[in-house]
Amino acid sequence: MGIDYNDVGLQVGLEIHQQLDTSSKLFCSCPTKLFEGPDEELAKVERYLRIGRSETGEVDPAALYEYMKGKKIIYLAPKGHVCTVELDEEPPHELNKEALSVALGISLGFKSKIVDEVYVMRKIVVDGSNTTGFQRTAIIALGGELFDEEGTVRIQTICLEEDAARRVRDLDGSAVYNLDRLGIPLIEISTAPDIRSPEQTLRVASRIGLMLRLTGKVKRGIGTIRQDINVSIKGGSKVEIKGVQNLEIIDKVVEYEVMRQLTLLRLRDEILSRGISRDDIEDKFLDVTEVFKESKSRLIVNNLREGNKVYACVLKGFKGLLKVEVQPGRRFGTELADYAREWGGVSGIIHTDELPGYGISVDEVKRLYSLLGADEGRDAVVMVIGPEGKCTRSLNAVVSRVKEAFIGVPKETRVANDDGTTRYMRPQPGAARMYPETDIPPVRIDENLIREAMKYVPRDPNAVYEELLTKYSLSHELSKQLLRSPYMLYFFDLVKEFSDDVVTPQYIASLLTIHLKGLKSEGIPIENITFDVIKYVLSMLRSGSLSKDGVIEVLREYASDPKKSINDLAKRYVKKDLDEVTRVISKIVESNRDELIKKKDRAFNIVMGLAMKDLRGKVDGKVVADLVRKLLDELLR
């Protein structure tokens, strides 16, 4: 498509949230480990949040009030992971000093100016992800900068805050949260909107991530780092995209958001050129169930059987606009459906730009238009199915979104899909509602804390890169891969233990990058592989008890079932000596002698296949191949 990002005036700011690997949570002594296992039987707590009507800031207060009213939130409290602090049944304890030290160390690494006394604030968050209705957060440092080839990116703030509860599912319209994650320390690094392209976004996010990993005190794995991206273009709006967990799609997210804003601006121009005005869009909703009395549409039949109704609303002059694609696979109609879902709780909308469809006939569409007194050639109709209340709320939301289309890009908080597209999440809060957390005393940053923090200051990534190239003679490619790897820090500890001809730095680096990635791409849960396990298999490799292939096999089996004993696994793959391997191959060659002579060209593959069945992981494949070739040569000569 070739967007000129300079031309459209792209400005991107990043907020990187990374979980810290501390022994306890930020404001209580619960561990920072997530609960694993079935959660159906866990203790449940049900709550409602509310906020004074005059305290909602710039968001339409009535709307926010309605949004929160009657929204039940269900919290799960797994034993051993959650105490009365997370349940908001006990005041918070003092700020975790370990987490504070790590945050201070990181701030020093970004040359950020550390505040002299830390004040914890309450930031109002009403989606239920915090039992209190606010997130506790504190600025640790201000300013700082990050070098990038497209231009230096300023750091605005570095905050230490509590992670939110983990949304695990929805139940009858209520959000269900597991409280195990609530209170895990997070560091938040916010950049100024100095980023100018999708590629630069990716580079800056990667570099911040690398620096965080270099402290050695951050968590690894899915969900432990989340990036919020603020994207704006000239004439558009600053849109917040929350919680991008996968770094690799971050450039796509920016690209698609620019695409969406540009499309919405074009859509606005089209709407205005059609001569429609905001007042033409009426919040008049009609029960049109009778149109579908005889319907063949399974969707409609099933719903009517449950006693649901079909409600419709006319979008005057909008014919054809709902099928305009705003992002790959997402149309303007999809944007409207997001609103209907979020505010009214229906499962989606049906609109005339996609009809006939869903088993709805041409005739039904005609009768729909005529019942509504709408013009089939000019107008669009949006329908929702459900009980009356839900339908009205949904259509209300649709109408208010359509009215925004006359202005352009609404200020929204959106959430990223796996493919880099985004969907509507909630209206953007006005200026963050913040007030002091009076339950937690301020913390004076003194020399002792700074001394403690020095342990966690990340090294300069460029110096680390240099060291990999020169001291450890890794290739550029391998060095880059290692720096991207979540296991990077293992390397430095492992090369200290092993530096011999068998377990070379190159081997350790490729094990931590290429081989582990290979296992991951097979779907093996490599997060089960701990430092100690890697150290153990490497020592087996050094002593000659395991082959290099054996190392991979043991890791594969262990990761798939970490309850297995690593000793037993290693024994199972114990390296065979050359005589034994020769015996095995000779036997195969002997017993298949005739066939091999007949199928001369494929002989090698046949013998390799049979041999590896027996020898996989017990000797390196290369050794087997060499022997097979040698023995076959003798046979076929």
Partner: protein
């Protein structure tokens, strides 16, 4: 430079600009200033080696004038009139986002702002009586709350709510229960364990439930309406003389001890469900008795190993008129104290015995010590909570001149403060290794 000014601090080449905030009680005092940045965060900056300038004086207004009026009123959507007597506590507090100050919100408008549904239930009148933390309540406060509530009943309002801090809420509920008898309607005390400036506050549900009870309950008793569980699913209605704060922070801290709660209000439909069948029905208004006096010279003494008789002697010397001993077990105190207790009784001090086990009943006939204490003149307080015994004794001493009346009435069941039958299920279950 004063709080509310927009200031700029230049230090080590960095610039910090924001609004000067007042220091908190726990801020470093010597060199720190607290600055609110444009993004809403507060940070503490040391002024050592810093250059400071005031950019704009009085950028925001600090410590907004506290309008105080005796009572405020909002018209509701039904013909009912509900009086909320506010005495303080966190159930009615509001935060000012600009300054972070938490101020008591004591107008009807503030209440409606926080709980708009209140309007659907009736007109709300808020009487701004006190703004004190409940640990600072005294028997004098009980007396004037009783008078104000008594006047409201006589003037004929449909519902009466008393908003109160939770720490000593059960003392005040007991006091009202004795000071106002033959009630034509319930009097509902309500508090909150999470202050109302938090989105997760329990105060909205507690308030809504207390109005449901005040308007619709069949009983004429003083009760406390507080969360029944840590979920927002029902509010328990406890008899004021049997309720106790059993936890320092949980929202279901209030529990009925040695009896069952009177009722619950189930949410979200605000349905009143009776739990107890034993209650005092709403009486005729003309039968109302108001005796709002309390004696201040009453003390609670907790028995413990090593308790010295000097403490009892001291109280007698200081002319205390009543002593409640929170005894061990069935109602005991070490032998060495018995002579002092005997002297107290002989000098006209009423000495009552409750138990520090909280659950169960005093029985002083079982062991020698108990029998000797009885002989010394101690009055066993049956299954009354020590706190209730203390309030009851204070009330009796202030309203009855004849000591034999005081002693007789102390053990007589006046408003269900005594429960003669403890069924097995009245004792709570704790975690014993069962699956959670």
């Amino acid at each position: 430079m004063k709080p509310g000014d927009l200031i700029r601090i230049v230090k080590d080449g960095h610039v910090v600009e924001g609004v000067l905030m007042p220091l908190t009680e726990l801020s470093s005092k010597n060199d720190i200033v607290v600055v609110k940045l444009a993004n809403g965060y507060n940070v503490g900056v040391s002024l050592t080696n810093a250059y400071v300038e005031v950019v704009k004086e009085g950028y925001i207004e600090m410590g907004v004038s506290e309008r105080r009026s005796a009572s405020t009123y909002v018209t509701g959507q039904t013909g009912k009139l509900i009086s909320v007597v506010s005495t303080g506590g966190t159930i009615v507090s509001k935060v000012e986002y600009e300054t972070g100050a938490v101020k008591p919100a004591l107008t009807a408008d503030d209440l409606i702002d926080f709980v708009p549904e209140l309007k659907e239930m009736g007109s709300i009148e808020v009487i701004d009586l006190y703004r004190i933390l409940s640990e600072n309540m005294t028997p004098d406060h009980w007396a004037s709350i009783s008078r104000v509530v008594g006047e409201k009943i006589v003037s004929g309002v449909d519902g009466i709510i008393v908003a109160h801090g939770t720490d000593t809420l059960s003392y005040t509920s007991s006091a009202l229960a004795f000071a106002l008898m033959n009630l034509p309607q319930p009097i509902v005390l309500v508090g909150s364990q999470r202050s109302s400036d938090r989105p997760s506050s329990d105060s909205a549900l507690n308030l809504l439930a207390s109005i449901v009870v005040a308007l619709n309950a069949p009983f004429g008793e003083v009760v406390a309406a507080m969360h029944g569980s840590v979920s927002d699913n029902y509010i328990l209605v406890h008899r004021g003389v049997k309720v106790r704060k059993m936890h320092s922070s949980r929202r279901d801290a209030f529990q009925t001890v040695n009896d069952v709660p009177l009722a619950k209000v189930v949410f979200p439909d605000k349905r009143l469900v009776m739990i107890s069948t034993k209650y005092l029905c709403r009486n005729k208004k003309e039968n109302l008795i108001i005796m709002p006096n309390f004696e201040k010279k009453v003390a609670i003494v907790k028995a413990y190993p090593g308790l010295s008789s000097e403490i009892i002697d001291f109280l007698v010397d200081k002319k205390f008129k009543g002593i409640v001993i929170e005894g061990t077990g069935l109602g005991h105190v070490n032998d060495l104290c018995i002579p002092s207790i005997r002297r107290a009784a002989e000098e006209g001090v009423v000495v009552a015995m409750a138990t520090q086990t909280i659950f169960g009943r005093v029985n002083m006939n079982v062991y020698t010590t108990g029998r000797r204490l009885l002989m010394a003149g101690v009055i066993p307080a049956a299954d009354m909570l020590a706190e209730t015994t203390y309030v009851k004794l204070s009330w009796l001493l202030a309203n009855f001149n004849d000591l034999s009346d005081v002693k007789k009435l102390l053990t007589r069941n006046l408003v269900h403060e005594i429960n003669d039958a403890h069924e097995e299920y009245l004792y709570p279950r704790w975690y014993h290794g069962d699956r959670l």
